[in-house]
């Protein structure tokens, strides 16, 4: 092939997009696998345990071992199950969960796969499709527990989707755009994050987000103690792994959406205050901190192999810190770094909730959804609408209110 053709291929937008998709998918699956590890570790520490310790140093190879185990396990399909739907359901779940990441801006500029002008609508629409995976999987299993789990799931997801959707609309009113990139740009122009203008919306969205990802305290669809696993009871082997991956990918997704809409996406805290520009050097500093942490704790290990591993890891962190400190690379990863930090904080909160809150009863769940969340979200929307109308066009607001005031006075 001639050089010119190759150059043309490299410049073709589809090629570049494909490369980006592959990178995002690979990183995402790795993040999801290690999110499971992180969850088990944090949960263990909060319960005065240690968590996985035996596979690799500090159990760091545990996710890989789990994945291999699930790959090798027998893939059982119940005899009376609806075969086609049973096979399809987990695929729907994982595809819906992963494809939404296309519209999430991880950083400024090229750090987004595509940015449709209906971004947030696309995100909500595709992520809602994931519910079909849960519903169909539970129904196709032809078994009691999965059926109950998926019924609960349907009721729960529908009621909380409404609250989450209305909470998002508040942000849309402020930023006057549906595009995810544009929403972040608006926050940059304003100089502060949307969470300061929409605290109620943020809280409502986060609670609904926990409910939508089927996590504690809203994990009724898969309540282990009640439904032996809920909708995925009959699934085994890699199909179960797909459900598992989808659930954790959804967690990352909800956190990413919350970060983009409310917490300023890839922006650093207070993006327009020049006095805080030293925060731009956070990535190398954090990496140096990580290496100090790894060395301080890892070198105390009693096993020689582990000491070597942690020494290597610490040195790697230091080298990375050096690379990241280069101005070119620092500018390139600045946005992604802040995005990841915020997403990690929210994911930590998800795990934190799981360690803290007991599960709600079914009627309590419905009460919270319909009697509190949706009215609060609606009130927030109305206040936001009136306030933004008033602030953008004060005169028009007064004029439009005038006849109403006069009628009240002189009727």
């Amino acid at each position: 092939m001639e050089y010119r053709t190759l150059g043309y291929l490299a410049e073709h937008p589809l090629i570049f997009a494909t490369v980006k998709i592959v990178i995002v998918l690979a990183v995402l699956l790795g993040v999801v696998a290690y999110l499971v590890y992180l969850e088990r570790k944090i949960l263990a520490f909060m319960q005065a345990r240690l968590g996985p310790m035996r596979v690799g140093p500090w159990g760091l190879l545990q996710p890989i071992a789990d994945g291999l185990k699930l790959l090798l396990k027998e893939d059982i399909i119940p005899e009376r199950a609806d075969r086609a739907v049973f096979l399809l359901a987990p695929v729907i779940s994982i595809v819906a969960a992963l494809s939404v990441f296309a519209a999430i801006p991880f950083g400024s500029g090229e750090w987004v796969i595509f940015d449709p002008n209906i971004g947030i609508l696309f995100v909500l629409a595709i992520s809602s499709l994931g519910i079909y995976g849960i519903l169909l999987g539970g129904w196709a299993s032809n078994s009691h527990y999965p059926m109950l789990g998926s019924l609960r799931s349907a009721a729960q997801l529908i009621s909380y989707e409404v609250a989450a959707g209305i909470a998002v609309v508040g942000v849309l009113l402020i930023s006057n755009s549906l595009s995810m990139v544009e929403i972040v740009h608006r926050q940059q122009e304003m100089g502060w994050w949307n969470v300061i203008l929409q605290p109620v919306g943020f809280v409502v969205y986060m609670i609904a987000g926990v409910a939508e990802t089927n996590r504690n305290p809203f994990d009724l669809p898969e309540a282990e103690s009640e439904l032996t696993g809920g909708f995925h009871t009959e699934y085994s082997g890699f199909r179960f792994a797909l459900y598992f991956l989808a659930e954790y990918a959804n967690m990352v997704l909800i956190s990413s959406i919350a970060v983009t809409l409310f917490l300023g996406g890839w922006l650093r805290p207070f993006p327009n205050i020049k006095a805080l520009a030293f925060l731009n050097y956070a990535p190398p500093v954090v990496l140096v901190g990580a290496s100090v942490f790894v060395l301080a704790f890892g070198l105390k290990s009693r096993v020689r192999g582990e000491r070597r591993f942690f020494a290597g890891l610490g040195v790697l962190c230091l080298i990375l810190a050096g690379v990241v400190a280069l101005p070119v690379i620092l500018g390139l990863i600045q946005g992604v770094f802040w995005f990841l930090v915020k997403v990690l904080l929210i994911l930590y909160a998800f795990i934190w909730y799981r360690a803290t809150f007991p599960r709600y009863r079914y009627d309590q769940l419905m009460n919270i959804g319909w009697r509190y969340m949706i009215p609060i979200a609606l009130a927030n929307l109305i206040v936001t609408a009136v306030a933004s109308y008033w602030l953008t066009k004060p005169h028009a607001a007064v004029y439009s209110a005038l006849p109403w005031i006069l009628r009240g006075r002189f009727a």
Binding site: F45, W352, T356
Partner: protein, 152 residues
């Protein structure tokens, strides 16, 4: 409901209290788990574990005088002391069996011993694949249990 209670509920203060508690438990000092084969828990000094037949630290000769008092003191009758007479009519220890499977670690043998010969040590790893393995002979008693040391 009083206003204070109402505000507590609206701002979910109880939930934050719970979150603070679980957060505080993350400190490494709160971790309770012992990594057993890698780190062995320290047992109390007066713990009565595996028996040991002590030898003289310098000459290496056994401290046991073969008086049979331990065997008499044992409520389970699990100690058998075998002796022989030396040419100068002294008792000398030949065999010593101790059936761990019947032992309740009461320590009466230790108390009965006139010398410092029989002693219940702090070793606690005494699991065996067969009942025969739990009957310790003199050699086993002198060297003590040797559990597998695991390493990575």
């Amino acid at each position: 409901m009083t206003l204070k209670k109402y505000l507590r509920r609206v701002f979910l203060l109880d939930l934050f209290k719970g979150l603070r508690l679980t957060f505080s438990y993350q400190r490494p000092s709160a971790t309770y788990t012992e990594q057993y084969p890698l780190e062995r828990p320290p047992v109390a000094e007066r713990y009565r574990g595996a028996p040991r037949l002590n030898s003289h630290p310098e000459t290496g000769e056994t401290l046991c005088i073969g008086c049979n008092l331990c065997a008499l003191a044992c409520p389970e009758n699990l100690i058998t002391v075998g002796t022989e007479r030396t040419p100068d009519h002294k008792k000398r220890l030949t065999t010593f069996t101790y059936d761990l499977s019947r032992c309740m670690f009461c320590g009466l043998c230790e108390d009965a011993c006139p010398g410092d010969a029989l002693e219940l040590t702090q070793d606690f790893e005494m699991a065996y694949y067969s009942r025969e393995g739990m009957i310790w002979d003199r050699q086993m008693l002198e060297q003590g249990p040797q559990p597998t040391r695991y390493s990575r």
